[in-house]
Structures are given as C-alpha cells and as structure tokens.
Symmetry: C2
DNA sequence: CCGCATCCACCACGATACTG
DNA sequence: CAGTATCGTGGTGGATGCGG
C-alpha cells in the first residue's frame, strides 16, 4: 500500500517535480560537490584538491548552478589575493539524506546493473 | 555522525557508484516508466497510453536501456498480432523506495529551487 | 587565486516516416 | 501491435588558453 502510494507520488504530476530535481542534481558532479561540502566551508582551491577528477571548468559551472538553485552559498571576500568560500545552505544540507539513500541503493544493487 | 558517515558513503569511490546509478535513471523518462510498472505488467501500447508525453522512440529506447540494466523484463509472445509485455524485475522494484525518497524531497523542497 | 572564453566531440531527445 | 530508420537540435563536458 505504501508502495502503491509511492508510485502515485512519483507519477503524480507526470513526473515533472521529480525530473526538475533530477535535472539539477543528476549531472556528473553536483551531488559529489554537495557531499564534499557536508559540514564544511571550503575554498575553491580546497574543492579542487578534494575532487581532482573535476575539471576547473566543470567545478565553476556546477558551483554556479548549485548557487543559482539555492543549494550552495558563495562568499567572495574582497581581499588580495581573492578568497572565495562555498558552503551548503539549509536546502543543500537537506538534500544529503535523499542522496544517501540513493548511494546505499547503489552499493547494494549496483552489481546487479549489468555492463 | 550519521550524516558525516553519509557524506563518506557518497564520496567513497569518488562518487562513481552513485554516478553509475544516476547515469541510468536520471534521463527524462526512466524513473517514470519504472513507477508506471509498479505492481503491473503492461504491454507497449498500455505504456504509451499511460505516458502520452513520451514519444514512441524514447519509450522504446528507455525500455531497452532498462532491460539492459536489469531493471525491467521484456516478454515477447510469438503471436499474431504481436504481444510484448514489460514488468519490473526484483532489482527494478527495489529502486522504487529510493526514488520515492527523492520524490518526497522534490515535493518538500522543490519550491526552494529557484527559477 | 579564482575564475571566464573558446573550440569541439558526444549523446539525449524529438519529429517524422516507414515496417513485419 | 510493436517497433526501426533517419534527420536535426540543444546541452553537457573535456582541453586549452587568457584575465583580474
């Protein structure tokens, strides 16, 4: 019954709400960046060091998207040399729980995804 | 602490496991089709009727992907006229719970995603 | 230190038309 | 009924180089 209700919740509006979320977090790096910022406030260069696989361009782009979506806050200190810090907003932190559920599923069922 | 552990779970392998899952379900229609097949076995045309927004091409392609990934089973009955039925596999059903968590988050926080 | 600009390959997605 | 074939478009993401 809970599952039947679940499918309805997903299909409710034709999946638009769920897709709107996926469109914003399902790119290659967004969730990884959010997870890296968990309970930390990091500078741009710190993020680069923590995520060496992310190109500079995509790190900038993804951070801008996350900022626009209200998941990450950007603080530019007017200093020399420049210093910019990124942190999760309340909304960003609340996203970690759903992401964690997906990550758990990936660990348990990832092997069942062929190829 | 659970959350701290959560971020580690997400970042564990550089996010590869989570991305592997997202790459497969984050397209425009996959999760919607999975939700539509919840506890039902449907024919191709039934799916088209339930999901009018999905073009015929994308329905075919997405079903093929879901089948390849082991989330959906395809049964072609050798009859005239042809009859093909789609249903969730055990793995496919297990995906509904994480999807539901995301859908709930979308309902609660979707309004906070600007623009 | 923190980016932005440019160029380019690739793929998701849609529209349309056709088939066993 | 259940697809396949073809074409076209937009967006993503990598490499590289420049700028304040």
């Amino acid at each position: 019954m809970a599952e039947q209700e679940g499918a309805c919740l997903i299909r409710g509006d034709g999946g638009a709400a769920l897709r709107a979320v996926l469109d914003r977090i399902a790119d290659k790096w967004a969730l990884l960046i959010v997870a890296t910022l968990d309970r930390r406030r990091l500078r741009f260069t710190d993020l680069r060091r923590e995520l060496p696989a992310v190109s500079q361009r995509m790190l900038t782009r993804t951070l801008r998207n996350l900022e626009r979506d209200g998941l990450v806050s950007r603080t530019a200190h007017r200093e020399v040399p420049p210093r910019v810090e990124y942190a999760l907003t309340a909304t960003g932190r609340s996203l970690l729980a759903p992401a964690l559920v997906l990550a758990r599923w990936a660990r348990e069922h990832g092997a069942e995804l062929e190829r």
